[in-house]
Amino acid sequence: MSLLYDLYQPGDSWLHRLDPRVKFIFVLCASLLLLLMRSLWVMLIALVGAQLILLSGGISWRRIGWVWRMTLPTMVLIAVLWVIFYPGEGQALLSWRFLRITPYNIAEGLAVALRIGALAFILFIWLFSTSQSALIRGLVALGLPYTWGLTLAMALRYLPTMAGIFQLISDAQRARALELDQGNPLRRARAHLPIVVAMLITALRTAQNLSLALASRAFGAQRKRTHLHPLHFRPLDGLLLAGILLATAALLWARLALGLGQEPL
């Protein structure tokens, strides 16, 4: 199955055992700090740190490579465009018409690009090491209504199913001479119309059957559901959470009061 549909890598590392709520709060705090800071060095440290966390958590090189393949083109594009369209301060290394390349805008472009990579990797620390159900349970424990959590879980569950149905309908329509890859983009989009209609009908039927299946398994019987594997907040989770919150508060103060990480270089 594609990684896109099945992000979780089963395991029993410290990262896997960590409470999903702690991981989620870490993602929020780290993202906030990364968005507030502009320093190339901070971004570099965050990116390297995220790799180390992933590797120490037993996440495979294959998955890490997958994230790199997904983010690297965007990172390169952002770095290049930034340097071209945002004239930098200070002495120019190259100046030609509107183009003005300086060490400052190169550092700024690199910092923005690395920030995208760091944000992605920090998010994937959570997604690669947390099973879908633990992820939802964590969010529900943090206050998300269970029905929302269930909806999210089902959306993730049915992604590959719907992709399979799309492929099936496309193949069936192709077998009846429907040309999906011919002509301009508008023509191609119109050619997909019969598939979209069939997909919609299938999705509606699946949703109806699903609602019957949910009802017949006592969904909504109790206001408070229980869980086969309830979340256990261990002392280590508490310690890590306190560390994350303290570090975030300290870095926030340093950023806002002392201007830490304010400049790209």
Partner: protein
């Protein structure tokens, strides 16, 4: 004692368009199912078999809306007035399409979903999950994703998910439709065990005449929104004229009996392969028929 009692049950689905007419499906169904009985339901497509199944756990009319008259009483509870969530602890249902009834990321979570909804203690949920998976022979697949299972395994999992609610009645709506022979055998193996070892009351819609002849205590035939006949499977499967009238096929071995009777003027009425084998061996040895 009747566990399920259906009296003059009429049902029409709500119209598809606001100004349309209700879609009548069931026209006065009468049926009763005894405790520990395995009742099979057969009938052509579109006669209301699924609707009848849904009426037994209250989804029709509580979830579907529409117009209902008459009574469907399961274990003393009128399914039109008892909440579906409450009925779910008494009546388990397995649908035809496994894809739309399995929605959890792992097998064990799928089975735990129902007990979790009841707010049970995690230890009891774990006990029920283990028991239900053991009954259907799926303990080894606990951590597997349901989407990675075969069709037969998916239906066994759907049965386990129902069993975890500890229902007294299990309703199966064509659970083997679309499965390969191995998958069909797996599902029927579980159903047979539930009948033989646990004496569970089972109502199953199926078109598998061979297996109905083998396992079912009684067979109900649905035709045009009504139950037109309830009888022992051998009596129905040897009534060729009736089967032709309602558009159903008998087990192949019963059709063989009809062909032999036509050819040799014999009076065979077998519905199982073993019965046919025994009768034909006996008559070949005795010289009543010749090869």
């Amino acid at each position: 004692m009747a566990v399920i009692r259906i009296e003059d049950f009429f049902y029409a689905y709500p119209p598809l368009l606001p100004e349309g007419q209700p879609i009548e499906v069931l026209h006065g169904v009468n049926l009763s199912v005894e405790r520990g009985e395995f009742l099979a339901i057969m009938g052509p497509t579109g006669v209301g078999k699924t609707t009848l199944c849904l009426s037994m756990n209250g989804l029709v009319p509580q979830a579907t809306g529409g117009v209902a008259r008459g009574h469907v009483v399961v274990l003393g509870h009128d399914t039109r007035t008892t909440p579906v969530a409450e009925l779910a602890t008494r009546v388990g249902i397995v649908y035809q399409d496994p894809e739309s009834q399995l929605f959890c990321p792992t097998v064990e979570e799928e089975v735990a979903f129902g007990p979790e909804n009841l707010g049970l203690d995690p230890a009891e949920i774990a006990e029920r999950v283990s028991w239900a998976l053991q009954v259907v022979g799926m303990e080894a697949y606990r951590q597997r994703s349901p989407s990675h299972l075969s069709g037969g395994q998916k239906q066994r999992l759907a049965i386990a998910a129902s069993l975890a609610m500890l229902p007294k009645v299990l309703i199966l709506d064509e659970p083997t439709a679309g499965l390969d022979p191995v998958g069909q055998a797996e599902v029927f193996g579980v159903i047979e065990r539930l009948c033989r070892e646990r004496r569970m009351t089972i109502v199953m819609v199926s078109q598998d005449a061979e297996r109905i002849a083998r396992f079912a205590d009684r067979l109900a035939i649905m035709w045009q929104g009504r139950i037109v006949r309830v009888d022992a499977p051998p009596r129905i499967f040897t009534d060729q004229a009736f089967l032709e009238e309602v558009g159903l096929a008998a087990p192949q071995v019963s059709e063989l009996a009809v062909a032999l009777n036509r050819r040799w003027g014999t009076g065979y009425r077998f519905t199982l392969l073993e019965e046919a084998e025994e009768a034909l061996r006996r008559d070949l040895r005795g010289g009543q028929i010749s090869s």
